[in-house]
Symmetry: none
């Protein structure tokens, strides 16, 4: 697995740093190589092309993001608790990794349509976590059974994403973690019977 080779991760971490610092368009392959401490050509031993660095970056980081989120959610007993954990994990993980937040909320969105479609592919796993919680809530009887799952999914993800983006853009003048309870209440009220 390429993912186990140390240089692979080394280059991805370098990419996060460089993109967060310089922005997507100013992030030249040579800069990423320099930050990773390898030669330009070495990049191409681990990645097909520049876009592949970004896709891999998102897969790698989002994979960890999702995994940790799932682990925490599995510890909870009911949909409402799980929803709170989802929100908490979403906010805290991006809050803790400043550079990653900039990259996922701002810089990666400057990529072209093709790359964004791939990113959406990765996101699906995350969206299905949301779906499962909602379905569980309906089954438990705590959420409204008439909910349109797709719509609810957009509402939840849209709310979280917009909140984080705004927080990143406002240069983190307030604590994201402080928003968890209020956001949770707002969402739960929309979902409940």
């Amino acid at each position: 697995m390429k993912n186990n080779k140390p240089k692979f991760k080394q280059i991805i971490d370098a990419a996060v740093t460089v993109i967060a610092e310089n922005g997507y368009h100013a992030s030249k392959v040579s800069k990423i190589a320099a930050q990773a401490g390898v030669a330009d050509g070495t990049i191409y031993l681990y990645f097909k092309n520049k876009e592949d660095i970004l896709v891999s970056l998102f897969q790698e980081k989002m994979g960890q993001f999702i995994e940790k989120t799932e682990q925490q959610i599995d510890l909870k007993q009911n949909a409402e608790e799980k929803m709170k954990t989802l929100i908490h994990m979403h906010f805290s993980q991006l809050s803790d990794d400043h550079d990653l937040a900039i990259v996922t909320q701002l810089e990666l969105r400057q990529s072209n349509k093709e790359l964004r479609l791939m990113i959406n592919e990765v996101l699906k796993r995350y969206l299905s976590i949301i779906d499962r919680i909602v379905e569980e809530g309906i089954a438990e009887g705590s959420f409204d059974p008439k909910l349109n799952i797709r719509l609810v999914r957009h509402m939840i993800f849209g709310t979280l994403d917009e909140t984080v983006t705004n927080w990143v853009m406002k240069e983190q003048k307030y604590k994201l973690a402080d928003q968890v309870n209020e956001v949770h209440k707002l969402i739960i009220k929309g979902l409940s019977r």
Copy 2:
């Protein structure tokens, strides 16, 4: 006012068409000029540079978008109705102008940080419409007085934006207008006392 000169609008409309068709980065100035039926150099009589076309495009189109939305909202009597009108106008206007939806939801977001900050400036006017409806609802007694306005704003805009983006990405396989009622119910439930 440059906005009254016919060529100004002509070029902006050409830009919407070309960007929707080719994507932001493949949209060469020469292509936009050709589509507008003017010479390349003429572009620079009306716009400072390529980026200025995008800023102006967004200001012009978003200006109309907001104006029409405000007009319709003003006809309604209470916050709940106004919210429904907001959602309806948001969905219908983007639904009706296919190319514009692609440009605002996908292509314009590929621009750099500076441009996005300008776009946010324009968006503020729209977000303040949302704020006013929420405040009105609270004053009327129909919305929960303890609502955190900023958070609610993110929820509403995030939900609408995410829904439209998903609709654009799914290549409009379903009717956006059909979602109005459900989205409205979902949001209102979150806001109500």
Copy 3:
């Protein structure tokens, strides 16, 4: 005679001012037109093209330069006096018209080879004044009859031109007029029997 029309001179004077201020390459036709207080298109009623402004400028200004020089020289009785007058007129006229000095010594030399050949055409009249003085000096018996006229012409013109250019480049930190006597002595010594 186009030269008698007021706008012709108006545009030439504007060109001198604009070129002296902005340099040759930054002197756009539109800037010259603005400075002259006419429309861009009007320039082309009086001049064939941009280069023609420069050629005309040089002809007009150099024509006056040469005429005045000749008038003063004609008042003198012998070659040595005439030479002193030539040097004096060369230095004083350029010293008195700051902008013109910048244009002739620095900016006009940035033009292309073709324009410089035309400029040389105009210069010939000036060089022939030099030649005549030298020939007169030889006939009078005060200058060495074995002098190579062309060479002497280069020496005299080269000396004057280099001195003025250096004075312009040094931003006129010293008085050009103060150099007349010394330059005269130096040249006369080279020419005398």
Copy 4:
């Protein structure tokens, strides 16, 4: 030292050829690259930009020019001999490198003020050679002690430069080398006691 890399000199020599042939403004970077047998982009591995090619060209060529001149002058015993060697070297070196003469006498002077200031910087070394010879002549007692060094410098450089420029413009219809003796006599007469 970049100057030791073969491609650096290769590109400079290509620039001399291309500029002499096409003139400064018609000398596109792509033409220089083609003449040097490298890709367009390679130019930018060795030079900051197009102007830097010209500055480097002048430094490189003028450096050699000055060095050779100094070497020959050092072999001579007195100021008069040294002056003759200076004139001889000045004429012969430019006479021998046709293209270089065109570039230094005509094309390089079309550059902008900034570039010309850099060129003047390089020229100072040459002018100080002249100064030293004159001072030596005065010390020896062969030159007039009352000479104004700066003026004499302008006379000598102006005479040589004007002579070469005229020779280049006249398309070398006569031998420059044949002028050495006469120019020398003329100058020496002006300098001597």
